[in-house]
């Protein structure tokens, strides 16, 4: 049995670990709240954009051709994989990476665009082809970042280097659950128009005026749609990362607590054993004198 001193040292070390995990949990909770707000703030834009895009593409009557709508025989597929820059967030990165690794097997020699350090490191180690990497996006994700990533894939897609582009990220369901999701980014499948608003609205769509014309408005909207999809994915991943970290750190703190409890028990037992031993030595010594 370990000596009382060893156990005491052990308890001390577990305690300090517990303090760290506790602090990390609180930090993650605060950051998650902020990230969640950002997700909420981005929602109106995305909804309206999808709305307008649906209407415009319906009005244009599917006859419009745009490079981003062009469906090609998939020769080369690209994946955008969004992971976190840092670890210590439970299965968050592992889940996305596992999903991605599985999806990647479908196509021959896919190109990867990794966002976040964890994903990049994993696929680099495996010797996959990484077309572009974006790391250190930081706490506050700006639309500019999403735009940069979108511009990269749009350029490649229009140039015919990629024939389809998928986005793999972790969807933020709630604090406890993040679900790895795959979304087809390009070619764009125009969002179906909502029909619930009835006939009156339908009449209104027909009479829309487009300035300068429907095609160029559509040309303006489509890249935006890609940008917004990426932006949303980035924000959700960020919120999910913090959520996952919070949960992971919470259970780490609980484990530490349990461990301290167990160690304290064995410390007491060890101490008691030492005392008993001492007494029996004294008694034994006294008995020997008689």
């Amino acid at each position: 049995m370990a000596s009382a001193r060893d156990i005491r040292r052990r308890i001390k070390s577990v305690k300090s670990t517990q303090q760290i995990t506790k602090a990390m949990k609180m930090v993650a909770a605060a950051k998650m709240r902020r990230a969640q707000e950002a997700v909420t703030a981005a929602r109106p834009y995305a909804t309206k954009l999808t709305d307008v895009l649906g209407r415009v593409s319906a009005a244009a009557g599917g006859s419009v051709s745009h490079p981003l709508l062009e469906v090609r025989e998939p020769q080369k597929t690209a994946y955008i994989i969004i992971t976190a820059d840092r670890g210590l967030c439970g299965g968050f990165n592992a889940n996305v990476i596992r999903r991605a690794a599985k999806e990647l097997q479908q196509y021959e020699n896919p190109a990867l665009i990794t966002i976040g350090r964890k994903g990049r490191d994993f696929f680099k180690r495996r010797g996959a082809e990484i077309a572009a990497e974006f790391i250190n996006l930081g706490e506050n994700i700006t639309f500019g970042k999403a735009k940069e990533i979108a511009r990269f894939v749009i350029d490649k897609y229009t140039a015919g280097e990629y024939d389809q582009v998928y986005l793999i990220f972790s969807e933020f369901v709630n604090t406890l659950t993040q679900r790895p999701t795959t979304v087809k980014l390009l070619p764009i499948e125009a969002p179906a128009e909502e029909k619930k608003e009835g006939a009156e609205d339908k009449k209104a769509q027909v009479s829309y005026m487009y300035e300068p014309n429907a095609e160029s408005v559509l040309g303006e909207l489509l890249p935006k749609y890609v940008e917004v999809s990426i932006f949303r994915a980035l924000l959700e991943a960020k919120a999910g990362e913090h959520g996952a970290r919070m949960t992971a750190m919470d259970s780490a703190t609980n484990n530490a607590k349990e461990m301290i409890h167990k160690l304290t028990l064995s410390l007491n037992r060890a101490r008691q054993a030492a005392i008993t031993k001492e007494i029996s030595e004294i008694v034994g010594g006294a008995a020997a004198l008689e």
Binding site: A41, S207, Y208, V217
Partner: protein, 133 residues
């Protein structure tokens, strides 16, 4: 009281404004577009510039970039990459950005950097204009 229409200015990062206004002038790609209530349905791309809003007889300006506008049923929806009301604009930052962009343009070069500098310059000018400088 004058008739009003609803104006929503939305960026990916936040909702900049959502209120009842009387008159909106937006910088369309083919010239300025004015919207009064009951305007016919319209969708247009916008260029980087200044959007003017008249509310309760007073006018305020919003610097916007990279967006478009949808008008329907007395409702004006502006979706833009960036949008700031005149009182939210950081003039110093805009001026610095303008100077930087001008330097980059003066240096010459080609391709995407030039286009980017040009866009940055437009944005800075729009912000300064909206802020009244």
């Amino acid at each position: 009281m004058a008739k009003t229409q609803r104006l929503d200015i939305v960026t990916p990062e936040r909702v900049v404004c959502s209120e009842e206004v009387e008159f909106v002038v937006a910088p369309g790609v083919e010239g300025e577009l004015g919207f009064l209530p009951e305007h016919a349905p319209l969708v247009s791309a916008l260029k980087t510039g200044v959007l003017r809003v008249q509310q309760d007889g007073k006018t305020y300006k919003v610097a916007i970039s990279g967006g478009f506008v949808e008008v329907k049923n007395s409702r004006v929806i502006v979706l833009a990459d960036t949008a700031e009301r005149e009182d939210q604009i950081d003039v110093e930052r805009a001026e610095a950005a303008k100077k930087r962009a001008e330097e980059r343009l003066a240096k010459g070069g080609e391709g995407i950097d030039q286009a980017r500098a040009e866009a940055a310059l437009q944005r800075a000018i729009a912000r300064l204009k909206a802020a009244g400088r």
